[in-house]
């Protein structure tokens, strides 16, 4: 079997880094803090590589003793390494490592350097706990932990009110999903008498398929999906992710693009044996994913903040993955998760590089012509855009193609889902190249010539010699660009003649998730090729349209915008969903808690009762005090009065 790396070492290293930097980081130079943070992650990455290298056919389970033992309820500290968690651990540590290196350059000179790296390392600890956990409860610990780190890092610039608010929003919105997750845990224990993957998953595989939507598996799956929609920013709980871009850019890249937000996809893929036995839940999953993908893509088309476009793109792409899970294409979903981690991290880091060069400017309408001054960023960003647009031979092409194919061909899929995916693919390539052309190609002069819009564009701030980022920031970009370019080949079914290394590697993880009873319909390879060509065509069309509208004839874009002014405004304002939520949920809750709970309950009922009781007591005391006049003869009178009362009482009572 070879050498077995103790699994607990993998998450504990970043924890050690977080503890050291958090407690004593201030005593050391930025260099030392950064080196420690990067070093911990690098070691953890190497250990994950080793562990995955020696991973056998069966999942590796390591138990470190009991955690909770209450009667028959027993939960252990145990880690679980199978191909699925192996892939996740590699992505988390690998992409995390590159982003950490980048952040060393990006955060240089910013305040809170050790706080930043402590939080980042802590995030990696929780994320690794999440993906390596051997039972649902330990997974939940990681799940909540990454939420905490996400909150801390979104609100990193806590002096800015909107950043602090965005942190709170992210935390509260994901809590709604976590509630569903928690109930799912209870139901899981209730149904399976265990929370260990090693027991639950085979047991679930032995369940009959639930045909009606009222069985325990369907309920568990839907509740887990609720948790996933919170964490992975799916409709209807996606609203926190666009605001999360207010954190530092490496955070957006690591947490809100590459790793944490894919936790929802991971939990669905992990629970795959449950899902395939609950077709109704599968349909809801596919629907949520497909609708999110399309919906977020349309918003991404008109946003003007570079990081917000990317945030909506992330939501849309995760919707893709969720849709893939919903059609039982778990392998394709995780494949897309990996490629997406590469190119989306790259896009965010590239955007960070641009923002860095322009001194904090994020509005793409004020950018342009950065191609010459930022050559490295330009070329790597282009690679990521092509990958997102799913162009051959970039990684996105393979994963995207697989998902679209499965959406059509899987027994759970259908033409409707496939069309949703296809339109999304077209929109994705359009918005990402709109962003690309506006940022790097159009010269600022042309931008300035565009008619000012609502809110008006200030005259473009002459970028004072935008400069390329230092090598420590460009090297991670190059590494990620190479991965975006080449990462997809491992999943190319045609290159490897029907059995690609990716499917072979990941297959054991989804053995139990074989669709029961149903045999996947055989489709000729020509059909699949035709579908790939079609999606390629759509992507090219999107790019072409973006080229036409923003490079060749910007005037057309303005005319279109003026023509569809109402629609443009609605989409620009994100379909007013935030306003809708504010009106329907936030305002009633705030009003209810301030008027009813605070003023009526707390102030009037509880405090009021106590105050009234105190006031009554003091008034009674004031009255009674007059009996003690200090006058001896009045005391005598009281004594006599008391005696008379006592005697008359006795006389009456006795007789």
């Amino acid at each position: 079997m070879g050498f077995n790396v103790p699994l607990w070492l993998i998450p504990i290293l970043p924890l050690a880094g977080a503890a050291w930097n958090g407690l004593w980081g201030k005593r050391y130079s930025e260099r030392a803090v950064g080196a420690l943070a990067v070093g911990c992650v690098a070691l953890s990455f190497l250990l994950s590589l080793l562990a995955v290298w020696y991973l056998g056919e069966t999942p590796r389970i390591e138990s470190y003793g009991p955690w909770i033992a209450a009667g028959s309820f027993q939960v252990n500290f145990n880690f679980y390494l199978d191909p699925l968690s192996a892939v996740m651990a590699l992505v988390v540590t690998g992409v995390g490592l590159l982003i950490h290196i980048y952040a060393v350059g990006y955060m240089a000179g910013e305040g809170g350097y050790c706080r930043f790296f402590a939080c980042m390392n802590l995030f990696l600890f929780f994320m690794l706990t999440l993906v390596l956990a051997g039972n649902y409860l330990l997974l939940f610990v990681g799940w909540e932990g990454v939420g905490l780190c996400s909150y801390l890092l979104i609100g990193f610039y806590f002096r800015k009110n909107d950043a602090a608010d965005a942190g709170k929003k992210a935390f509260i919105v994901t809590r709604i999903g976590d509630f569903g997750f928690l109930i799912a845990l209870l139901l899981l224990y209730w149904t399976f008498d265990s929370l260990n993957f090693a027991q639950v998953l085979p047991a679930a595989a032995g369940f009959p398929v639930e045909t009606d939507a009222s069985g325990p598996l369907t309920l568990i799956c839907l509740l887990l999906l609720l948790g996933a929609t919170g964490k992975s920013a799916q409709v209807p709980l996606y609203v926190w992710l666009p605001d999360a871009t207010l954190g530092p850019t490496p955070v957006s890249a690591l947490i809100h693009a590459a790793t944490m937000v894919t936790a929802g996809v991971y939990i669905i893929a992990r629970s795959a044996p449950l899902y395939v036995h609950a077709p109704e839940a599968m349909f809801v999953v596919a629907l949520v994913g497909g609708v999110t993908a399309l919906y977020a893509a349309t918003i991404g088309v008109v946003q003007n903040d570079i990081k917000r476009v990317l945030a909506y793109s992330t939501i849309s792409q995760i919707g893709y993955m969720v849709m893939a899970c919903g059609v039982a294409a778990f392998s394709a979903a995780i494949f897309h998760l990996v490629t997406h981690a590469f190119f989306k991290a790259l896009l965010f880091l590239g955007a960070g590089s641009v923002i860095h060069a322009l001194g904090g400017e994020q509005d793409i309408r004020k950018m342009g012509g950065l191609r010459r001054s930022l050559p490295w960023t330009y070329w790597t960003f282009l690679a990521a855009c092509l990958a997102l647009a799913a162009l051959w031979p970039f990684s996105g092409f393979f994963s995207n193609g697989q998902i679209l194919w499965e959406a059509y061909a899987s027994p759970y899929g259908g033409t409707g889902l496939w069309l949703l995916g296809l339109v999304t693919a077209g929109l994705s390539s359009f918005y990402i190249f709109r962003l690309f052309f506006l940022t790097f190609h159009v010269t600022p002069k042309e931008v300035a010539a565009m008619p000012p819009e609502e809110g008006g564009i200030e005259p473009a701030r002459a970028p004072h010699h935008p400069h390329e980022s230092p090598p420590i920031m460009t090297w991670p970009l190059i590494a990620l660009a190479v991965l975006s370019l080449g990462g997809g080949w491992i999943g190319s079914r045609f290159l490897f003649g029907g059995s690609d290394p990716w499917s072979r590697f990941i297959a054991p993880a989804f053995q139990l998730a074989a669709i029961p009873g149903e045999q996947a319909a055989e489709h000729p390879a020509e059909t699949e090729l035709l579908f790939m060509a079609l999606s390629l065509l759509v992507s090219l069309a999107g790019i072409g349209l973006a080229f036409l509208l923003y490079q060749l004839r910007p005037a057309i874009a303005d005319v279109l915008q003026a023509r569809f002014r109402g629609l443009h405004q609605v989409v620009l304002n994100k379909y007013f969903v935030d306003e809708f939520y504010r009106f329907v949920f936030v305002r009633p809750i705030v009003a209810g808690s301030s008027e009813l709970l605070w003023k009526a309950m707390d102030m009037a009922a509880i405090d009021g009762t106590i105050h009234r009781a105190a006031r009554r007591t003091s008034r009674v005391g004031d009255t009674m005090r007059r009996m003690q006049s200090g006058n001896i003869r009045s005391y005598a009178a009281w004594v006599v009065l008391g005696a008379i009362l006592l005697i008359s009482f006795l006389v009456v009572w006795v007789s």
Binding site: S629, G630, N631, I632, V640
Partner: protein, 100 residues
């Protein structure tokens, strides 16, 4: 033989006199004597009833009351003397340091 009611009526008269003195007199020594009067009115009742019921309990109570009265007289007179030394007066209305 004198009937029981005579004793009880006399005792009630004595007790009422004592209570009235206790309430209305200002001189502290008079008040003190009124208290003694009340105590002895009660003693008279005890003795009368004890005789009437042919039981000794009442007599024993009387002894107790007399002992208490003697002790009280000793303490009370000592207090009165101290008060007089300090205030140069026996009027209770002027012993009013604690007055509201």
């Amino acid at each position: 033989m004198v009937p029981l009611s005579y004793y009880l009526i006399l005792s009630a008269i004595l007790f009422s006199l004592g209570a009235a003195g206790f309430l209305f007199k200002r001189n502290i020594v008079t008040i003190f004597l009124s208290v003694e009067l009340m105590l002895n009115a009660v003693n008279l009742t005890f003795v009368a009833l004890s005789y009437h019921l042919r039981q000794l309990d009442g007599q024993i109570f009387v002894f107790f009351v007399m002992v208490i009265a003697a002790a009280e007289a000793a303490v009370g007179l000592a207090i009165i003397i101290t008060v007089f030394r300090n205030r140069e007066s026996l009027n209770v209305d002027r012993i009013n340091l604690l007055k509201l």
